[in-house]
Amino acid sequence: MIQEKFKKILLVDDDIDLLDQNKALLISRGFAVVTAESGEEGWKMFQSENPDAAILDLIMEQMDAGFVLSHRIKKTEHGKKIPVFILTSATYDTGFKFSASTAEEREWIKCDGVLNKPVVVEELISKLENFAGITK
């Protein structure tokens, strides 16, 4: 069960509605969720909670707050082991061009995938499963 591998998920989003939605959805699927509403708060939460996965909104207090946070997380020993996803509505169709679909892009962005808003919980779970498959 994927919920056993990723018991606790860190959600960071400055949009309280989206944060609550994703939290409710993940809880309904058996995950435990910790939340933060800014990049700074998310960093503190990551350090204190040691989550098993992190889902970070991209545009928060800064345009690239999600990238900044994922870089900080991926620099830590624990961060290297867990999947970190960037959550955004800023994708190809709105002119911001990134997808983390290639290894090179992942090296730059320092995350394991990009999720479009609004997030479909099944898609997130399948991404977690993929990640687990890769690291097994």
Binding site: L25, S28, G95, V121
Partner: protein, 493 residues
Amino acid sequence: MNGKTAHILIVDDEKGLRYGTQRLLEDEGYSVETAENGEEGIRLGTSKEFDVALIDLKMPDIDGMDVLKEIINIHPNTICFIVTAFASYDTAIEATRIGAFGYLPKPFTPEELIYQVEQGIRQRELIIEAERLKKEREANLLELAFEKSRLNAIIKSINEGVLIINRVGEVAYYNYAALKYLNISDLKISEPVLYKLPEKISDIITNILEKETFSLKTITTQIEVKPNQELVIEAACTPISQPDGSLAGVVVIIGNITDFKKIELIKNQFISMVAHELKTPLAAVQGFLNIFLDKNMNLSEETKEDYLKRSVVRLKGLTDLVNDLLDISRMEIKTKQREIEIIRIEEVLTGTLQFLEFELKKKGISIEQNIQPNLPTIKADLNEITRLLTNLLSNAIKYNKENGIIKVEITTSSNYLNIKIADTGIGLKPEEKNRLFSEFFRAKNEKTRGISGTGLGLTIVKRIVDSYYGKIDVDSTYGEGTTFTISLPININ
């Protein structure tokens, strides 16, 4: 001679010969004048241009050679004959050297005389025709040279770069704008140039030059000549044909489109931001709806109502955003729909405060007004001034603390009407202050949580103020409050 009577001068001291010759020539239809000595000959021969002059060599006063010299000096096209009984080879050579057309030995028969005169007249016609052609050609050349220099001046002065390449890829012509836009330091006429050009341009030209047939179609390409969009050009390459239809070369017209590209970039960025701002509330509402439809979710009635209310708030925010965007777009078109009227700012303030009464009461905000008596009127669009005060006052309410105060002060200084709106709210961090007027910027920190807004309110305020040539200042201390001061010129048209 072309229906025109030829004028002939006879210079001879021998009266008999003078009259005899005159009569002979007049019988042939020529008009004849005579001079009886050298001096008279010079006077007549120089004062008007004869077609032919017959000059006696030996005269008592002035030698015929000198008369010849004088006449030719003034009228080089007068055909002169030296007439003499002392014919010698040397005098003949000398006379021709000085400029005589021929030599007429005395005595001569009438046939000889007339034959020689006719020859002379034909010669003169030829000379005159040749001269006319020469002048015509010179005039044409002058015009051509003028035309060329005028074209040259025009091409050198235009903003577009012009580069003409002949059919073997050498420079045939260029102007300095071309060098500037192609970032080439030097070019010489006739030097091979293709290797110096940006690849995209040289490819197009090579393609045109190498083809057997060509159409006079222009091929256009855009090139970033200097990185980071510092210089972007558009080059239009057009084949030019010879009069016989074969390829003469290629003309490249280069335009500087850097500013256009910059505007395009700003526009695209703005559209990206707008798209993002529109998608965010939509995603929130969609997210709530998805939860309602999710079979795994077991929502309590309380949670359902909470989610529905939050969806309504997001949709209201989306509507506000669309309205703000429309306002900004209207402002871009501006002046057209503007209705300028005389406005009393204190009346606009009273109206705006009434409009915001509900929000003020809800948060327990009190207003302290300090309005200078007898304020001057301003000329402005009432809608815009109302919008200005509404946006600033609603911010002062939204970002104020519960039961806070808003101080409104309106004063005049020199030619400005100063509107100061101070709140006792959360204030701004220094880094937030700098970005305050940019589109979609909203201060995001622990204290602004739950405050809704489009991120366009102050952008609109700034645009209104700018459009009236006014100014806006912000003074803020984080945690204590923010003061906006708007200065609008009085008596604006």
